[in-house]
Amino acid sequence: MGHALKMTVSIEFLGMQRAITKTNKIDMAITRRTRVIDALEHVRREYPDLHLDERTVLITVNQEMAALDTLLNANDTVSFLPSIGGG
């Protein structure tokens, strides 16, 4: 009998987020119905001090822009980046 492979995504933390979470990334188990919003909620539960606001973060999946309802696939890397406008 084989075991079903567990599907996960990585959520990476850069800059100020890393300073608060004290880690470069965390893994999150997903199903075929997991979306970006679920990853965001997961981070909010795990790290309430991050105060991620979906109105101001730039969401990327594998370094490409994504929306809150984007479906996640196994081994994706999700980031919630700050907006950067340049000085």
């Binding site: 850069l14 100020m16 300073a19 606001d53 109105r55 101001t56 730039l58 950067i84 406008g85």
Partner: protein, 719 residues
């Protein structure tokens, strides 16, 4: 101090952000005069940039160069430059004909000089002529006097330095004590010996109980000041800084300021965290997206970059838990500083110094030289400030020569030592040589554009080849446009930012347009039309901040959550509305954002006319180095071959890739060059220019700029 000339005056009161007066000083004739402006002058030529542009347009000619007596050095704040109730005020600009570009340059700088000058009764100070001896100008609003004095001699170090001279000058002027009623601008020996000397803006910081400095860094404004024999200007006013603009509607200003402070307070710590980290926080994000310049922009990412991320500076150097605004009332407070940093190299090795910075650009200047040592960043920062050198042009010029060395265009015999990437000792030596005008520093201090010619002559003579052929090669990686060195972002993968640098009227500095993220990462500018619209809109609003005496960071780097509900979140319109209210509350105008953009566009067109007159205004002057468009050499292509091949496949007809890497690289660069030319066509049309980038007559007329000089100029160009 030995006073050479003194004039008495009755300080004008600031009303609605203006005094309607310019202090004119001719150092050649030792004349001091006050120019009274008609009330409508400020409406047409807004604030710092507007004043400087109009003075340069009227008062200089196409023969004017940085070192001719008729060149004018203008320092001017704007109507919004002095309000502690609103974040990010206190800015002023230094504008002049640049030694690097031979055309107009303005550099935006913080500190207390602009606000105090205004309180002392002047919207601007404009200096012309060349003094026979080194002098300082003293503007004393309390005493009602303006003096030209012989530059005081303190000691060997201060007489050559910018920071050390300024510290002593301010103490001198304060009767032996520092005071927040005093501020100064100074230059150092780097301004005498290079074309990229800066003007330091020094002020007393009560919290740190020391003199701090900010820099008008770009374009060699300090070199102009030093050439005029002007070592410093001190300004004094004891008038209250509260309501410094003397707003027409104080309550409207208070409300707008409170709203912006609230957004910053609620959002910055969740976003870029500039209040804690300063702009060094950018390094990590730039590296992540291949935008961090490594080895003269050959690469945008390095495994060693993390040694230059914000955490390193925060934990190792920055004084923590201390608000660090460069002017009163700014709760973004991103002007970081470090105390007691021990110098390990150079003539002051062993001494502990106070460093203001580093900013991201200084960090990027060091990575551009292939160096990833954070302590060197601090030392480099301090020495450049003390010598009065632009950290950007210094680093980018050094990196250019390092690449010349790498590719065999330069030898150790030419330089006097091995000038290789990552070689801290060589980089350090070159900085001191540039500042002193000694050794290879004499060549490097001329900047990249002139450095290319020097290398081409040298190499062509040695190898019996044509200079033209060598120049063609050097043009691929000499990172300058119009004579100004690039600021520190890799543009290879953002066509919009290539335009942002190429079309920038002063040369490739990001204060006109920084579109990398919304283009390359957000993908909000998918078409040429989108990019062209952004390349018109952003320069207008961004340079309006320079015109009015404001810092743009509270707008552009703190995203207002309400922007999410707008059609173009990157413009952060809800925050911009606070600025329009602040403007109207201060001056009594009833402007809308569209009016603000029109005011700014008038200045933009005027600057374009100056560029045209000075030989830097046509399409040819907007062309960028190959490296700015993509991987100039095969080694760069190969470092991201998978990415570039995918990019090629996504282009029309990209289903069949050429077989060899060399062919794919060539095809890639052909497509990039075509795209840039296509962008030029569309952007010029959008801006009201001909295809050769010359403003059309109706464009000039629309903004009321068709004077006799403009008519003659357009006639010459057949427009």
């Amino acid at each position: 101090m030995r006073i050479l000339r003194q004039a008495r005056y009755e300080p004008a009161r600031v009303v609605g952000g203006y005094t309607d007066r310019i202090l004119r000083v001719d150092l050649g004739r030792q004349e001091i005069a006050i120019q009274e402006l008609p009330p409508d002058f400020k409406d047409k030529y807004v604030g710092g940039r507007g004043y400087a542009l109009k003075l340069i347009w009227d008062g200089t000619t196409r023969q004017t160069r940085y070192d001719t007596a008729d060149n004018i050095l203008v320092m001017a704040s704007g109507p919004l430059g002095n309000e502690p109730g609103f974040p990010g005020t206190g800015k002023f600009i230094v504008g002049t004909i640049s030694p690097l570009t031979d055309t107009f340059v303005d550099s935006n700088v913080g500190g207390h000089f602009g606000p105090l000058l205004k309180l002392a009764g002047f919207d601007a100070v404009a200096v012309s002529g060349v003094s026979r001896e080194d002098v300082v100008i003293l503007v004393d609003g309390d005493a009602g006097s303006v003096s030209i004095a012989a530059a005081p001699h303190y000691d060997g170090e201060a007489d050559e330095g910018s920071l050390s001279f300024g510290e002593k000058l301010l103490k001198d002027a304060g009767g032996g004590e520092y005071s927040d009623s005093l501020a100064a601008v100074t230059v150092g020996k780097g301004a005498r010996n290079t074309r990229f000397g800066i003007v330091n803006s020094l002020f007393y910081d009560r919290r740190r109980n020391r003199i701090r400095c900010k820099q008008a860094g770009r374009g060699g404004t300090g070199t102009v000041m030093r050439f005029k024999g002007l070592r410093g200007i001190v300004v004094r006013s004891s008038l209250s800084k509260a309501n410094g603009n003397n707003a027409v509607d104080r309550e409207a200003v208070r409300q707008a300021g409170a709203r912006l402070k609230e957004v910053i307070s609620d959002c910055d710590h969740k976003q870029l965290n500039l209040g804690a980290w300063g702009t060094t926080g950018l390094s990590e994000y730039m590296d992540k997206f291949h935008l961090f310049p490594i080895n003269n922009y050959q690469y945008g990412q390095s495994p060693e970059s993390s040694r230059l991320f914000a955490k390193v500076f925060l934990e190792g150097y920055f004084s923590k838990k201390m608000p660090d605004g460069c002017y009163y009332g700014c709760n973004l407070a991103c002007a970081k500083g470090a105390e007691g940093v021990e110098l390990t190299r150079g003539p002051r090795a062993g001494r502990k110094v106070n460093v203001d910075g580093p900013e991201y650009e200084t960090v990027g200047s060091v990575s551009c030289m292939g160096i990833f040592d954070p302590h060197f960043v601090l030392e480099y920062n301090w020495y450049c400030d003390e010598y009065g050198l632009d950290t950007i042009s210094t680093g980018v010029t050094a990196a250019f020569f390092m690449e010349c060395f790498q590719r065999g265009f330069l030898t150790a015999e030419d330089v006097g030592y091995e000038l290789t990437f990552g070689n801290i000792e060589a980089a350090d030596r070159l900085v001191h040589e540039m500042a002193s005008g000694e050794g290879f520093g004499r060549v490097a201090g001329q900047g990249v554009a002139r450095g290319k010619k020097w290398v081409a002559q040298k190499y062509a003579a040695r190898h019996g080849t044509s200079e033209q052929a060598v120049m063609a090669e050097l043009n691929k990686f000499g990172m300058e446009v119009k004579g100004l060195e690039f600021s520190l972002y890799v543009t290879k993968e953002s066509l919009a930012q290539q335009g942002g640098y190429g079309f920038a009227l002063k040369g490739p500095q990001h204060d006109e347009a920084w579109l990398i993220f919304i283009d390359q990462v957000h993908k909000e500018l998918p078409t040429f039309e989108h990019k062209a619209n952004a390349l018109k809109w952003f320069p207008l609003i961004r340079t309006w901040f320079n015109a009015t005496g404001l810092c743009k960071l509270p707008w552009i780097d703190v995203r207002n959550p309400e922007a999410a509900g707008t059609s173009e979140p990157a413009k952060n319109i809800p925050t911009l509305e606070y600025y329009v209210k602040y403007l109207n509350g201060t001056t009594g105008s009833k402007k809308k954002l569209e009016d603000v953009l029109d005011d700014s566009e008038r200045l933009y067109i005027l600057q374009k006319l100056i560029n045209l007159r000075q030989g830097k205004g046509t399409r040819a002057s907007d062309q960028i180095p190959l490296r700015a468009m993509g991987p100039a050499y095969l080694n760069e292509y190969e470092s991201r071959a998978e990415y570039y091949d995918k990019w090629l496949q996504e282009q029309p007809g990209g289903d069949k890739l050429p077989a060899s890497p060399e062919q794919r690289h060539r095809l890639l660069m052909e497509k990039r060059m075509q795209a840039y030319q296509q962008l030029c066509d569309i952007v010029y049309e959008k801006k009201g220019f001909t295809s050769d980038a010359i403003p059309r007559r109706e464009t000039v007329r629309t903004f009321g700029l068709m004077d006799d000089q403009a008519k003659r100029l357009l006639d010459e160009f057949g427009v």
